[in-house]
Symmetry: C2
Subunit: 458 residues, 2 copies
């Protein structure tokens, strides 16, 4: 016991040298796996607050909760950064069915896409044209599309190791499908849910009309992958079947909301900022446990773990819980704008926004020199099997902070299950594994420890 106390004092008050890294990281591991608050924080955020779409009451409850939790953790200062966010409201549960002939119908699991307009209150009912690309729309032309509903049915590609790559290859139909289809006279679009599973959950997500005037906007909805398969099969038998879609979602004027920011001043280099964060808003169907409750609680927990591990930051550490990542990125924009105005020096920023799954490592946006430095830390993560250290993107909320000589990073958990839950009603707390969430905290805290100790760009 005595020996432990002596070691602790030694490590807390003297300069640490690189021989200690292995030991400190082991201590961060032990604390992360036994003293983390992440799981209970997420239990509260998910189960007591729940889904928190920008502009909603729950989003504001999450802001208050985030500020309160950060205030308990030993930061020098916790504050709110005001922003205006879009307020889109889903309204009553959407309804859809396939009518193969009058009186013969099949119910369809459906949800409006975020940002979509409503249908008329009785819904829209029309023939369906199935396509897999915008090129197909062009080939079919106005003749074959006018007055119909376009069904975008491009599945996510199964033979990609990273499901984020599969998502990237298919997401265009959701984001831009409506504004493309309306060019040819479509009266609505339905999108195959962006999931690699066959199940009954429709997956929402942001869509945009671009510059379309209000009168030209057509309703856009996602249907489940099972419903997509069924619709596609029924269309082969009966191309004249009708589809009925009814949704009453609505875009309101922007409302006030906030980023939540906490800061502990560095003891040696207070002007060098290391940012860690996730986004506080989520979609409304589930409780947003993976997207991005996990990243939020891991970010909140990080200083707690550093403290328990006896490490005092030399540089300034900021936790930012960004608002409105899902449908506007207003929080990220405002944060970057104010940072620029104040000439803040973010030497490093880390976002966790890829789910609370078993972490595999990090991807880094960096110049060559800094990356060479970082890649040397990889071996410290190897005993924990978290040593995927590759160049790549970081996170939507922090990418605007990129400079020529800083480093941005994204936590990279195993991606196989992520899109089973993404933006759907099953993104809930029960889909979180406590150990996997805590391993994420460990990985993040260890990386921040190394960045703080050795700096970037020196």
């Amino acid at each position: 016991m005595k020996k432990h106390i002596i070691i602790l004092i030694f490590l807390s008050f003297l300069n640490l040298n690189s021989q200690d890294d292995k030991e400190i990281i082991k201590r961060i591991f032990d604390n992360s796996m036994s003293k983390s608050k992440s799981y209970e924080l997420l239990d509260h955020l998910s189960n007591e607050i729940g889904g928190r779409l920008s502009g909603s009451l729950n989003a504001e409850r999450a802001v208050k909760w985030g500020k309160n939790e950060l205030s308990k953790t030993g930061f020098d200062r916790v504050w709110l950064q005001e922003i205006m966010v879009p307020k889109w409201v889903r309204g009553p549960k959407e309804f859809a069915l396939i009518e193969t002939q009058p009186g013969t119908t099949f119910n369809v699991d459906v949800c409006a896409l975020g940002g979509s307009v409503a249908t008329p209150s009785v819904g829209i009912k029309a023939q369906v044209v199935e396509v897999k690309s915008f090129d197909e729309l062009k080939e079919l032309g106005k003749d074959k599309i006018d007055g119909k509903i376009i069904f975008f049915n491009k599945p996510m590609k199964p033979n990609e190791v990273s499901t984020f790559n599969s998502y990237g290859l298919a997401v265009n139909q959701r984001v831009n499908g409506a504004q493309e289809a309306v060019k040819y006279g479509a009266i609505g679009v339905i999108i195959r849910s962006l999931s690699l599973r066959l199940d009954d959950f429709p997956h929402t997500g942001v869509m945009t009309y671009g510059d379309l005037p209000p009168s030209k906007k057509i309703p856009a909805a996602a249907i489940s992958t099972n419903a997509s398969e069924k619709l596609s099969n029924l269309l082969k038998i009966n191309p004249d079947l009708k589809f009925l879609l009814r949704q009453q979602c609505k875009q309101f004027d922007d409302v006030k909301s906030h980023n939540v920011i906490a800061e502990i001043k560095g003891s040696v280099y207070p002007d060098e900022i290391i940012l860690v964060g996730g986004h506080l808003d989520s979609w409304d169907l589930g409780d947003g446990s993976h997207d991005d409750g996990a990243g939020v609680v891991q970010s909140i927990d990080l200083l707690n773990i550093l403290n328990k591990s006896g490490y005092k930051p030399k540089r300034t550490i900021r936790v930012v819980l960004f608002m409105n990542e899902e449908n506007g990125l207003r929080g990220a924009s405002k944060y970057a704008e104010i940072s620029k105005k104040n000439s803040l020096n973010h030497i490093f920023a880390l976002e966790s926004d890829a789910g609370g799954f078993s972490p595999r490592g990090f991807s880094f946006t960096s110049n060559d020199e800094n990356f060479e430095k970082i890649i040397k830390w990889k071996n410290l993560f190897k005993p924990y099997l978290i040593h995927y250290f590759e160049r790549g993107g970081s996170g939507a909320d922090i990418s605007a902070l990129q400079t020529n000589d800083n480093v941005l990073a994204g936590l990279r958990p195993d991606s196989q299950r992520y899109f089973d839950f993404h933006h759907a009603a099953n993104d809930t707390f029960d889909a979180i594994n406590k150990r996997e969430l805590e391993l994420g905290v460990f990985a993040m805290t260890s990386l921040i420890y190394l960045v703080d100790k050795y700096g970037i760009n020196n």
Copy 2:
């Protein structure tokens, strides 16, 4: 299209050189992620057959099913290898409660350990002594233990990256707890379930009485981790509380069962055998989807994927579905015995028995020379993030096949969730992710492809 056919013919009929490995492995990947039968095979095994403890009707149904499925896959020969297996039957659902005072009781989620004797039909009821080690038993001695129930409450260690390590550190209390406790006069043992989660599932598993005569055997049961926490807390308040345990499990005489074996003769080196397998039996509480339905269906699927990828084995490939891994290893012993008698040359054996989770790589039991050869293949698996290639154990069913110059391997999936399900009622098909299972098939098939192409020990 024409070009594809030409390439396919070229690859199927000419000798392949190492430049092709990347391409072949990509093809194995594509086929594994889009044409695998593993998920539907497992659906049947889990949902139509279910839990299949050695000696049970379901185990025999699984033998028939396994033989039938292997017969469809293009092997030269499929046969059964007869063995005698223990037959232990759980009987009616077990019952347990904590009585803090007469009339004040708390129900406890409980299950008998595999191999345990029954309690008297009214159960046993006694005071409880909580311990965390066999040393503690010794310290307490007969005075404090005689006539009581020993409660082994050593939790799995959270700060191990591999949950199999945590399991290894705690499993002794389950396997040998009863024969240790009875030395000091205990009348029964209850064991904290070997799970890292706090939940209500009791986890069974094998236990042994060593050489104890029947009259000395005492009943052994597992209680859930939540119940363990509750019992431990109640004992702090009231050390005199009573525990009631009732179970009616029974050991019968050994019965006949089978390993299921399939073989395709190598076109060039028919005497060099490459074995791939998993175990067909499971515990009885769940349907054994992770332990080890996953390994069984991956093994069955492997030749299907090789065929679809246009690769014809030069060496003999054997699939073995072992019987009785869980409580006797009789299938493994018999297989090794007969292999030895027939001087079979197993140059390589691969077992998948660590769950159907996202694969991280393999561990290898190998001499230095062979390991040097294998480690060179690691880079071929890196694009798929399945490049954990380390020395270590392989699998319980194949370890008896070890020689000085062959290689044994075990598939190593991410282990974080494995013990959430292991030997418990929630090890069911819904805990399987299709992609993760298929990535396992991909990893196994690619490794077998390389072993077949390049051989071992040459």
